[in-house]
Symmetry: C2
Subunit: 135 residues, 2 copies
């Protein structure tokens, strides 16, 4: 359980690739897709989501492409994952707290809150800089 989808996996690969390029290099989507072995049309959707929230900057037309929206050390894995997979929610009751009290007199609720907190803390503590291969 709790599995990252392909979309999330691809998202990480794609943006980590960008993070490994020099700061102002504009990369073609097609090149990124090939480099990280992801279907280009699928990666396009992912990068559109990134672009909307500023994780990457996009440029259209000739000479266009993508570059990182911020410095690699200022983008966390948590942001990347939540950008495409939605918020970390181990249980629905964390999204809508009101309806939980009733359904389970919820001693379980605080446990899921802790799970959520731990996961967010781990992913939030890792930046893209930590993920690129130095060499």
């Amino acid at each position: 359980m709790m599995e990252l989808t392909r979309k999330g996996e691809y998202a990480i690969r794609g943006i980590v690739y960008l993070a490994g390029k020099q700061p102002d290099k504009v990369c073609l989507l097609s090149d990124i897709a090939e480099a990280v072995d992801v279907p280009p049309t699928f990666l396009a959707k992912i990068f559109q989501q990134f672009s909307k929230i500023g994780l990457v900057k996009s440029y259209r037309g000739t000479g266009g492409g993508f570059m990182l929206g911020r410095a690699p050390e200022q983008i966390t894995l948590l942001e990347v994952v939540e950008a495409v997979e939605g918020p970390i929610l181990p249980n629905r009751c964390l999204a809508v707290p009101t309806d939980c009290e009733r359904s389970c007199s919820c001693n379980v609720h605080p446990v899921w809150q802790r799970v959520q907190g731990e996961v967010r803390q781990v992913l939030g503590g890792v930046s893209l800089k930590d993920l690129v291969n130095e060499q």
Copy 2:
């Protein structure tokens, strides 16, 4: 992301209900299902899985039903969740470590391992006894 399914939610409700009964009380599936508001046929499948691994004991025929397989303090939430949802695997690469090296030169891999570890630790630290309402 990382959401528990209905099955997992129902599983917890059902077994916590059992844990709240006196130790040797045999409960009808139909009664449990009604008490925790879960479709009886669905809960049946869940309890079959529990039964196979000994989390609950089942008795067939007249006077049959279910009771907890061990004392409530000896069953963790982790066991319950993994029984019906499968192992905690934030990423596929944790299941088959061999194919990860290639695909991502995986600096991400150890992060997912940490996530897995934290989640398992939280869920493993909670027993059914902690989850029943005392009163």
